[in-house]
Symmetry: C2
Subunit: 279 residues, 2 copies
């Protein structure tokens, strides 16, 4: 069976017995964005390094990824360290490096994560899925010029990328709201790494809000995993409903909050990110 | 003039010329919580270490703090490293340690942060302040048994801590919603460190949602700073309106999103956190 492009992109090999926390990989042309790879893939790589660490305790609860600089094409080194292991939680720090022009290793991404052995408790979903039923008839979004968008099957619900860049952006409650269905293309059973990537699948809110295509890029993203592996398995290759909206745009940075539900209406993950923009 | 207890709590001294990124401090009894100090103070300490670093570029944009274990009373060591400095952004990693029972240094908190030199751009506040006018007549919240709550002047708007623990928690949109006015007591001009602390001033959402007082503690908090120092100065010693709500409670962890506005209605910061709870 052919390896899925997402697993291909996330392939990590142990750096060697003398560096037990370090893995070697390469940035993936299949998920290329404008400059550097799709940030969702980079976040997923940070999580993958943790998930294949032999000291791993439990499943992902929280992941914060900071994009310090764009990855270039080619190999990278990623280190994931369990800095604290408690009875039921574990804290991780992650750093990804590539050689710079002079050959010295340079940090391009840092991350922190918490994993935990979950126990069954009282639970409640306080954010019902918006009324939106998936239909195969929903138009599939045309791919942008960015290669990574071809790796996702995205179906419009509302707040799609403007077709005309005329500066006519709207305010109000719907000003920066996007809802869409998303799954991997080709389909792939959902796991924590692909969920982490999908939390970053929305195009910049400032484009929707202003109908003006200014340079923009995620600086830091935080994702909380509400689902455990059983709920991911129940989701399988189904579509997720993703929702994103900004709370504030201020002098070069805006934030984005996001939610991801499966078709059954289970809130799998919530996420927030801060995004640089120009002008 | 007497030093404000918050500045007392955040006092850091350089560890020495051979450790240029490291500072020494001590956990503050004035901000003590049930076990260990108020997490807001710990987050503010991480930011303070960055802000007094001689290599600092710009002002805070994003801060993620992971609580790996409760601090004990007494001295700690905190290291803040600028791992990447770009033209207008800078990336930081932070770790706080205390000696464990055997005398070995043990990591109790990790953090990452982004600082940046902001430029004036198109801006928009997409999250208007809820209709709530500050009135001195609003009842000041009675302090809980936790010492840190006495360091804040908190005024109820809605969603206050249940007076009766009868398990009668409500669902729906208001199920986990709290709004309150907050400022330091005694009053203190707002700065980035105190704003970071105030983002963590809400009691656990699960208590409100269930009217059941289960053990709960923040595992990780992320705060985005939309205000620059000019807007903080405009806020001065005024009250902030804080709003918090959960999106999901699932098997031992719930999330909380929060917003903080000044009295003029400027959204100063947005925040999210993931919180451990029992039962």
């Amino acid at each position: 069976m052919k390896t899925h492009p997402f697993d291909e992109a996330l392939r990590l090999e142990a750096a060697g017995a003398d560096q037990p926390d370090t893995w070697l990989g390469a940035s993936s042309p299949a998920y290329w964005n404008m400059v550097g790879p799709f940030g969702g893939t980079t976040a997923a790589t940070a999580l993958r390094a943790i998930l294949q660490h032999p000291a791993l305790l439990g499943e992902p609860i929280a992941l914060t990824v900071n994009y310090a600089s764009a990855l270039t094409e080619g190999p990278f080194s990623i280190t994931a360290r369990p800095v604290r292991t408690n009875r039921s939680t574990q804290h991780w720090t992650v750093a990804l490096s590539q050689p710079d022009a002079a050959g010295a290793m340079s940090v391009l991404m840092t991350a922190t994560a918490v994993t935990a052995a979950r126990r069954e408790t009282w639970s409640a979903n306080d954010t019902p899925m918006p009324a939106a039923r998936f239909s195969d008839a929903a138009p599939r979004l045309r791919s942008s010029s960015a290669e990574w968008t071809r790796r996702y099957d995205l179906r419009a619900v509302r707040g799609m990328i403007p077709q005309v860049w005329d500066g006519s952006g709207q305010g109000g409650d719907e000003g920066s709201l996007t809802q869409l269905w998303v799954r991997d293309d080709p389909p792939r059973p959902l796991d924590f790494a692909s969920l982490a990537a999908m939390a970053d699948v929305f195009y910049p809110r400032v484009w929707l809000r202003r109908a003006t295509r200014v340079p923009a890029g995620t600086v830091s993203i935080t994702t909380y995993f509400h689902a455990d592996s059983r709920q991911l398995a129940q989701t399988g290759e189904g579509y997720l409903l993703g929702q994103a909206r900004a709370q504030a745009f201020r002098n070069g940075f805006f934030d984005q909050t996001a939610q991801l539900w499966n078709e059954a209406g289970t809130l799998l993950a919530t996420s927030s990110q801060i995004v640089y923009y120009k002008e």
